[in-house]
C-alpha cells in the first residue's frame, strides 16, 4: 500500500472522527437544558427530570458520545423529539431527494463545464472564448437560489411547464418526481458549471503550453489530436481537484435550493429541526452531510492516484 493512499485513508477516518466530535460537542454546549427546551418553559420539574433520564442526559459526556457514535455507525441515529420516529428513517426519506438532486446537478454541471471549457480553450482569444468566459463570469455571480426563483418565475408562473415546488414522491409518481428535480438541478448546476468551465479552460490552456505538447506537435500530431490525446488527461488533474472541493458547496447549495422548491430533502429536514430545536436530527444530518463531503474528497484522492503515475508521495 502506498503511503499516499494510507495517509489519505487515515485522514479520511480522522476527519470523520473529528467531525463527529465537533458536532457532538457543539450540540453539548448548547445554552439551556434540552429537556426544558423540548417540553417548554412551563413544564413541571418532574417531567423535565423524567425526560432528562429518558434521554440519558444525566450520564457523563464521553459515555453519551460513545453511545451516539456506535449507534450512528450501526445506522441508529436515535429517535426524533418532534416526529417521534427514528431519525434514520427521516434521513433515508430525505436522502431519496437530496442524493438524486446532487448527482443530477453534478453530472449536468460537469457535462456543460467540460464541453464549454474545452471549446473555449480550443478557440483561445476568439469570440467564442471571450463570449463563454463572459457568460461564465456572470454565471458565478448569480446566487443559485435566485436563479431557482427566476426559473420558477419563467417556467412555473409564466409558461406553467413545471410546478413551482413540491415533490410527489418516487413511489407515487416516478416521472413527476424526476420532473420536480429538473429545475432545482438546473439552478444548482448552472453556477457549478460556470466555475468548472473556467477551471477547465485555464487548465487546458496551461497544459497546452507544456513542453511535452510541443513534442507531440513536433511528432506531427495535430492540435485537435494533441488536445484529446495529450492535453485532456493532464488537464483533468486540476479540474478534478476543484470538482472535489466544489462538491461541498454543491451540497450546501442543495440545502438552499430545497428551500426554494420546497423539496423535503436533507436541507428541509435540518432547517425544520432547527426551528423545532430537534437537535438529534441536526446532529445526525450535519454529520451525514460532512461525511458525504469527506467521502467525495477521499474518492478524488484515489482518482488522482489512478490518473497520475508520478503520485507516490503526498504533496497536497
Amino acid at each position: 500500500m502506498s503511503v499516499f493512499l494510507f495517509k489519505r485513508l487515515l485522514t479520511f477516518i480522522l476527519t470523520l472522527f473529528g467531525a463527529s466530535v465537533i458536532i457532538f460537542a457543539a450540540m453539548e454546549i448548547l445554552p439551556g437544558d434540552p429537556a426544558l427546551v423540548i417540553l417548554g418553559v412551563d413544564a413541571s420539574p418532574e417531567a423535565v427530570q423524567a425526560l432528562t433520564e429518558k434521554l440519558g442526559l444525566d450520564r457523563p459526556v464521553p459515555e453519551r458520545y460513545f453511545d451516539w457514535i456506535t449507534g450512528v455507525l450501526g445506522g441508529d441515529f436515535g429517535i426524533s423529539y418532534s416526529y417521534k420516529t427514528p431519525v434514520s428513517e427521516l434521513i433515508i426519506d430525505s436522502l431519496k431527494i437530496t442524493v438524486p438532486l446532487a448527482i443530477m446537478a453534478m453530472l449536468l454541471a460537469t457535462a456543460i463545464a467540460i464541453v464549454l471549457g474545452i471549446y473555449a480553450a480550443a478557440n483561445h482569444n476568439r469570440p467564442a472564448d471571450v463570449g463563454i468566459m463572459g457568460i461564465s463570469q456572470l454565471g458565478i455571480s448569480i446566487p443559485s437560489f435566485w436563479l431557482g426563483i427566476l426559473l420558477v418565475l419563467l417556467f412555473a408562473v409564466n409558461l406553467r411547464w413545471f410546478s413551482a415546488g413540491g415533490f410527489p414522491g418516487w413511489d407515487r409518481d416516478f416521472f413527476g418526481s424526476f420532473r420536480a428535480l429538473i429545475l432545482p438541478a438546473v439552478s444548482l448546476a448552472t453556477v457549478q458549471a460556470a466555475i468548472l468551465a473556467r477551471i477547465t479552460r485555464s487548465a487546458v490552456l496551461d497544459v497546452f503550453r507544456e513542453d511535452f505538447v510541443r513534442t507531440a506537435r513536433a511528432k506531427g500530431v495535430s492540435r485537435r489530436r494533441a488536445l484529446w490525446g495529450h492535453v485532456l488527461r493532464n488537464a483533468l488533474i486540476p479540474v478534478i481537484t476543484i470538482m472535489g472541493l466544489q462538491f461541498a458547496n454543491l451540497l450546501a447549495g442543495t440545502v438552499v435550493i430545497e428551500s426554494v422548491f420546497t423539496l423535503p430533502g436533507l436541507g428541509q429536514l435540518v432547517l425544520k429541526a432547527i426551528n423545532n430545536r430537534d437537535l438529534i436530527i441536526v446532529e445526525g444530518t450535519v454529520l451525514l452531510l460532512a461525511a458525504m463531503v469527506v467521502a467525495v474528497n477521499f474518492l478524488v484522492d484515489i482518482l488522482y492516484a489512478l490518473i497520475d503515475p508520478r503520485l507516490k508521495v503526498s504533496d497536497i
Binding site: 450540540m27 454546549i29 463570469q137 446566487p143 408562473v157 438552499v256 428551500s259
Partner: protein
C-alpha cells in the same frame, strides 16, 4: 502597490474589465455609505398604508408588503452584505494567512497538521457551520460572520502555504538565511510582500463568495434578522408573493449579482495587473 512593473495606474486604466469591476464595486460601497445617513424612503419601519405600491417618483422601485421602500432596502441591505463580507473575510484572511505562513516556515509535522486541519474544515461549508451555529447561538449576523469566516480560514491557509512554499524555494530566501535572518523575519520581510498580491486577489474573490453565502443564509432565515434589511431575506419575502409581484424577486437578485460580478471582475483584473510574471520584463 507600485512595486515592479511600472505604473500600476496606467495599466489599470487600460484594463476594461478591471475598470468595470471597480465601478460596480465603488457603486455598491457608495450605496451602502449613503444609506448610512440618507435613503430615498423608509427602509426599516413598517408602513402598511403604503404596501405593495408600484414604482413611482416617490417609491423608485415600489414598496413591499409591509410598505417599506424597496430601493431604500436595497441600499441599506448593502451595509449588511458588506459588513458580513468584510468581517468574515478578514477573519479567514488573518487566521488563514498566519496558519499558512507558519506551516510554510516550519514545514514538517506542523505543515502536515495545518494541511490536515484545512482538509477537515473543508467538510464544513458555510451553510453547514451556520446550521450548527444557529442551533447553538441562534440565527443572526454574527452566525453568518462566524460561519463564513470559518469557511474562509482553510481557503486562505491552503493558498498562503502553497505560494509561500514557492517563495521559500527561491534563492533570495536562501540569501536572507545566509545573512542570518530567522524564519519570522524572512516571513515578514520576504515572504509576505511577495505573496501579498495573490492574497489581495483571493480576498476580493472571497468577498464576492461571502456576499453570495450571506444572501443564502439570510434567505434561509439563518442570517441577519429583521428589521435590519438584507438582500437574501428580501428575496425570500418576495418569493412568497411571486405570483403577485414578480418584480420584487428581481431587484434584490440583480443587486446581488451585480455586486458579486463587480468583485469578481475586480479580482480577475487585479490578478492580471499584479501578476509578477507580466510585470517582470526579461
Amino acid at each position: 502597490m507600485s512595486g515592479p512593473g511600472g505604473s500600476f495606474l496606467a495599466r489599470a486604466l487600460r484594463h476594461r474589465s478591471f475598470m468595470l469591476g471597480g465601478a460596480l464595486t465603488v457603486g455598491m460601497l457608495g450605496m451602502a455609505a449613503i444609506s448610512l445617513f440618507w435613503t430615498p424612503g423608509e427602509a426599516i419601519s413598517l408602513n402598511v398604508a403604503h404596501r405593495m405600491r408600484p414604482p413611482s417618483l416617490e417609491y423608485w422601485l415600489g414598496t413591499d408588503k409591509f410598505g417599506r421602500d424597496i430601493f431604500s432596502m436595497l441600499m441599506a441591505g448593502a451595509q449588511n452584505s458588506i459588513t458580513v463580507g468584510v468581517v468574515a473575510v478578514s477573519i479567514g484572511l488573518v487566521a488563514g494567512v498566519i496558519l499558512g505562513a507558519w506551516a510554510s516556515a516550519k514545514r514538517g509535522w506542523i505543515e502536515e497538521a495545518v494541511m490536515r486541519f484545512s482538509d477537515f474544515s473543508f467538510a464544513f461549508p458555510a451553510i453547514l457551520s451556520a446550521i450548527m451555529l444557529t442551533a447553538i447561538i441562534g440565527p443572526g449576523g454574527v452566525t453568518s460572520i462566524l460561519a463564513i469566516g470559518i469557511y474562509n480560514i482553510p481557503v486562505f491557509a491552503r493558498l498562503t502555504r502553497g505560494v509561500a512554499n514557492a517563495v521559500w524555494a527561491r534563492e533570495f530566501v536562501l540569501a536572507a538565511r545566509a545573512a542570518g535572518k530567522g524564519a519570522v523575519r524572512i516571513t515578514i520581510e520576504h515572504v509576505l510582500p511577495n505573496i501579498l498580491s495573490i492574497i489581495i486577489v483571493q480576498a476580493t474573490i472571497s468577498f464576492a463568495i461571502a456576499i453570495l453565502a450571506e444572501a443564502a443564509l439570510s434567505y434561509l432565515g439563518l442570517g441577519t434578522q429583521p428589521p435590519q434589511p438584507s438582500w437574501g431575506r428580501m428575496l425570500s419575502e418576495a418569493q412568497a408573493l411571486i405570483f403577485l409581484a414578480p418584480m420584487q424577486a428581481i431587484y434584490p437578485g440583480v443587486t446581488i449579482a451585480l455586486s458579486v460580478f463587480g468583485l469578481n471582475l475586480l479580482g480577475d483584473g487585479l490578478r492580471d495587473l499584479l501578476d509578477p510574471r507580466l510585470a517582470r520584463k526579461r
